[in-house]
């Protein structure tokens, strides 16, 4: 029964969220709870000489002042899990150095100010290009630990390219090199009819979730460490805690709380701190970051410098793409986006040759983390700006140029693998029919329309789900997938359709690591595609139990039965029927004859289901002030199948808004000493409602062969091409190309001035 698929429905959690009833991680009561306040490094790079907590300990209500040596960490690594508090060397301003634990948050904050830390300052490595050069100061002196964890696999269903076998001289700050090459890019470019190039710069960008990071830890009577936390993945948090403190998995229970936004930023960053304090003190401890701490001490998206060159023949056939992509990982030695950004920079296009190098470079700036489509908006900003320029050089329509080169099923991408089913052509064709695009030639002065296209490859991870039908005929779906984006509502739709119940009879419960079936973290646009598939199979398995029982009751073979709206009936003879509720009641009782109507389902997707999205931006540029006003915005996205169009459109709009943030507002800035200059919402701008135009959504459906009812993962694709579309619109309005994000008024004004001077 598919009639529930494709019907817009409100999110299951909407009433409790909009009425303020949801209990988030910081809201729960815990008996005997202590509160932690962090002492953050004031130095970007230094050796810790001494941590003096004696003054803090004199404050009434302070229980302990903890430094690195006080935590029972069990590994020697230097990543944030292995080293929740800096041991010896601080590597960015804002790194946690000590924790004050007190009876109240206020006391903890009073006392945290009294903790004295002696630092011996070292050179701060802030500029990523300087950091790469041979002989550059090192951002970390202490010997590197091994790579810190498996978070990378969450985000990219891709492999790194071949290891670099060349001998470019680079400093020890370069932690990773990727070289993706095929064909002769040099020859292809030199024989092209048009070649364009540019250097594109993008800043560190903060996820800016509403709810700051929070974790609460306590010990059960049997010694189990329980951590209740705002995490995107309870099993990820559990494995990180096990690694940090050397505990067996069965001695840790992670309870994921409702998320107040995450966007890639909530992966076990604060759990090791709260848990470490609890293990040290044997008392419940909660850490709720303040907004200032969250800005300074967490894991935003990395800054990137992309030098890119692309070519084409007269007829618009793309020839080659060549580039260097430098990714600022900050202090993250474990992973970076150089692998994925060097893949995605090719866009959903065919290239005859490519030669892309990626570099992951450490600096004394934050710890890099994931943010919606890691490495993708930065790549798309470069290639989609250049495609626009290339179309101009060749006198071609920018969308026709893209369409001519858009990949179709089976084309081989930069990854070396054939693209799976992809809606690039469909999305571009839909976009070019939109009036905003078609009528772009008749705009008032200083207005312009720009377009850009991007895609996200999707991700996979095995997952399982449980389906249970109660004696009242309602269904409960149990998963361990944290609901970040309305996926629970999607699960209810999938289960209802797969089983034959109205969706309002299906509720979805999030289990913890002790009770739930396995699911990886919510991220990488993989939850609906993978966990959703497991939910579908769990519901189907339960349906088999249902049909077996109904078959006995009705004396009709299961194959001749259908389930519609909670009623099992004979195909072609709907009056011969029995309700799901009746069967379930017969099953769930003393002396009952049928197995409970329950099912377990799993999935291990091997195919990927990339999602393509195109953005059309309409801007007006104030030449006197450099302000860019968005007058209109359209996003078209291939979502495979829109299980619930209301939620799909919400994802598309949310992605577009965050793209507007990348394009026009957001920038974490450090000074030359590595001090954060835009670490509050007074300095760090995000798109507010008054700066976002109505966003029109165009849903394109090219079903994923293996997705639940054809659905694809859709969360990340809608952020990717937005900055490029807006940059292209600014060019259309002014004739000026901005190659640095965000396109703030001073930058736009300066670029216009420079073009007038030239």
């Amino acid at each position: 029964m598919e009639s529930v698929i494709g019907v817009p429905r409100p999110r299951l959690d909407a009433p409790e969220k909009v009425t303020g009833q949801t209990r988030y991680g910081a809201d729960g009561h815990v008996h005997g709870l202590l509160h932690a306040r962090l002492v953050l490094s004031t130095e970007a790079h230094a050796v810790i000489q001494h941590v003096d907590g004696s003054g803090a300990l004199e404050v009434a209500g302070v229980v302990a002042v903890l430094a690195a040596a006080d935590l029972p960490t069990a590994t020697t690594g230097t990543d944030r899990t292995a080293e929740p508090l800096a041991r010896q060397e601080v590597i960015f301003a804002g790194q946690p150095v000590a924790m004050v634990i007190a009876e109240s948050e206020a006391v903890a904050q009073d006392a945290a100010e009294l903790v004295l830390v002696d630092y011996e300052p070292l050179d701060a490595v802030v500029d990523v290009e300087v950091a790469m050069a041979p002989g550059a100061s090192l951002a970390r002196r202490v010997e590197e630990a091994e790579a810190g964890g498996d978070l990378e696999s969450i985000h990219a269903g891709t492999d790194h390219g071949s290891a670099d076998d060349e001998h470019e001289q680079l400093s020890g700050n370069v932690l990773d090199r990727v070289h993706r090459t095929s064909g002769d890019a040099e020859a292809a470019l030199s024989s092209s009819d048009a070649v364009v190039s540019g250097t594109f710069r993008t800043p560190w960008v903060y996820q800016a979730y509403i709810e700051p990071q929070v974790a609460t830890a306590w010990l059960e009577p049997d010694g189990t460490l329980v951590v209740s936390t705002a995490t995107q993945g309870s099993f990820v948090s559990r494995s990180e805690l096990a690694r940090a403190y050397g505990l067996p998995l069965d001695r840790i229970r992670v309870i994921a709380e409702p998320l107040g936004g995450a966007f890639g930023g909530k992966f076990a960053l604060v759990e090791p701190l709260a848990a470490g304090a609890t293990l040290a003190l044997r008392r419940p401890v909660r850490l709720v970051m303040t907004r200032r701490e969250d800005f300074a001490a967490t894991n935003p998206a990395s800054a990137q410098v992309t030098m890119l060159e692309i070519g084409a023949r007269k007829d618009g056939t793309l020839t080659a793409i060549r580039g260097r992509m430098i990714v600022d990982r900050g202090s993250n030695a474990g992973w970076g986006v150089e692998g994925i950004t060097s893949l995605l920079v090719g866009g959903p296009y065919r290239w005859e040759a490519h030669d892309i190098r990626g570099y992951g470079v450490q600096t004394n700036r934050f710890t890099f983390g994931a943010y919606r489509g890691p490495g993708a908006p930065t790549a798309a900003f470069a290639v989609e700006s250049l495609l626009d320029e290339l179309a101009g050089e060749l006198g071609l329509d920018p969308l026709e140029l893209r369409l001519k080169n858009a990949v179709v099923d089976g084309d081989v991408g930069i990854s070396g693998n054939p693209f799976p089913v992809m809606g690039a052509v469909d999305v571009i064709e839909r976009t070019r029919e939109h009036p905003l695009w078609k009528e772009r030639g008749s705009l008032p002065e200083d207005e312009g329309v720009g377009v850009a296209v991007g895609y996200w490859p999707g991700g996979n991870e095995p997952a399982a789900a449980v389906c249970r039908v109660d004696a009242d005929g309602t269904m409960t779906i149990v998963t361990s997938a944290v609901d970040m984006t309305g996926v629970d509502t999607g699960f209810s739709t999938i289960a209802a359709a797969a089983f034959g119940l109205p969706p309002d009879k299906v509720r979805v419960v999030l289990a913890d690591t002790a009770t739930g079936p396995y699911a990886g973290a919510s991220g990488g646009s993989k939850v609906t595609y993978t966990v959703g598939k497991a939910v579908q199979r769990a519901a189907e398995a339960a349906r088999e139990k249902l049909l077996a029982a109904a078959s006995e009751e009705l004396e009709i073979a299961p194959g001749d039965l259908e389930v519609v709206d909670g009623v099992v009936r004979a195909v072609g003879a709907p009056d011969r029927s029995i309700t799901v509720e009746e069967i379930s009641r017969k099953a769930l009782r003393f002396g009952g004859r049928y197995e409970p109507i329950e099912g377990h389902g799993g999935s291990a997707q091997t195919s990927l289901a990339p999602s393509v999205a195109a953005h059309i931006a309409h801007v007006r540029v104030d030449r006197d002030t450099g302000e860019v006003e968005l007058l209109g915005y359209v996003i078209a996205q291939d979502v495979g199948r829109a299980l619930n169009p209301a939620l799909v459109e919400g994802q598309m709009r949310g992605g577009a808004v965050q793209a507007i943030g990348w394009a026009l507002f957001e920038e974490l800035v450090h000074d030359e000493d590595g001090q954060l200059l835009s670490g509050s919402f007074l300095d760090y701008a995000i798109p507010t409602a008054d700066r976002v135009p109505p966003i029109e959504t165009l849903i394109v459906e090219v079903p994923a062969p293996d997705g639940p009812f054809g659905a694809k993962g859709i969360g990340e694709a809608p952020v990717i091409a937005g900055p490029a579309a807006i940059a292209n619109a600014v060019f259309a309005a002014t004739g000026v190309r901005l190659r640095e994000l965000p396109m703030t008024p001073p930058r736009v004004w300066a670029a216009i001035q420079a073009s007038l001077d030239a």
């Binding site: 948050e105 009073d110 907004r291 002030t625 026009l664 300095d683 995000i686 703030t744 008024p745």
Partner: protein, 271 residues
């Protein structure tokens, strides 16, 4: 985001408030929209806050040839006051309407904003352009100063240690006057990168003041563009000096144009 320990007293009269402020490191608390965030960030650590919210110092009305705004009139009150619909007063209403968000405007007060003397604050420019007088009370009695005498520099005023702004008074402009406030805001803080207030009279005489571009708001003397070129303009990470100077020219031009249009409307204005 928890303030350091602080004592609190709610004053029931101006005299009581002035008395209470005698304590070292005591601060008046009006709408709290600047002081409380600063306390939460522990940038401000008063020993005592003296809440003057109960002193009945609100209200906006014309009397005796003046437009009188109580020091505790909120931005929202100014935004919505009928008397400020007159084109000659529009700078006050439109400036108030652009401050913060609705929550801020519901609590923030004109007196508190002026006394805080943030160099990027909007309203000081309007008070300068409209030639406002500030009525002050201290244990020594009452005095009146010109709005232009208030700010000495960033967050620094000529107010005495125990002196309170009680009223902001603007001379009623002659018919055919128009005023306007135009700002370009920092996209995060909403504070003015450059803000200009203009008052244009029927005879074409114009008073223009700028805020956000220097240590304190100031009246432009003589030709506006020349005055901006002469002025010492601040630059910062976000808005360098040349950009801010350009903004100053732009907002002044736009404010004067808008005020001139309103002056025409004002000639036939009926309340």
């Amino acid at each position: 985001m928890i303030p350091a320990f602080v004592e609190y007293v709610r004053a029931s009269s101006v005299d009581e408030a002035l008395e209470a402020l005698g304590r070292e490191d005591a601060k008046f608390l009006a709408g709290g929209q600047s002081l409380l965030p600063a306390m939460k960030l522990r940038i401000a650590r008063p020993s005592l806050v003296v809440d003057i919210g109960g002193l009945g110092l609100g209200g906006v009305a014309e009397r005796d040839g003046e437009l009188v705004m109580g020091a505790l009139a909120t931005w929202d009150e100014l935004e919505r006051a009928d008397v400020l619909r007159r084109p000659a007063y529009q700078a006050l209403a439109e400036c108030a309407a652009g401050i913060g968000d609705l929550q801020v405007r519901n609590r923030g007060t004109i007196g508190g904003g002026l006394a805080h003397a943030d160099p990027a604050s909007d309203m000081p420019a309007v008070t300068l352009a409209l030639g406002a007088q500030l009525r002050l009370r201290s244990p020594d009695g009452e005095r009146t100063i010109d709005a232009a005498e208030l700010a000495l520099g960033p967050f620094t005023t000529s107010l005495g240690e125990r002196e309170l702004i009680t009223e902001v008074a603007v001379p009623v402009p002659p018919p055919g006057s128009g005023s306007a406030y135009v700002a370009v805001e920092h996209p995060a803080s909403g504070f003015a990168l450059a803000g200009a207030a203009a008052l244009v009279h029927a005879d074409g005489t114009t008073r223009v003041a700028l805020t956000g571009v220097s240590a304190a708001p100031f009246l432009l003397d003589g030709d506006a563009d020349d005055a901006i070129e002469r002025a010492e303009i601040f630059g910062d990470r976000f808005a360098p000096v040349d950009y801010r100077r350009q903004l100053a020219h732009t907002v002044v031009r736009r404010a004067v144009e808008r005020a001139a249009k309103r002056a025409e409307e004002d000639a036939t204005w009926k309340a």
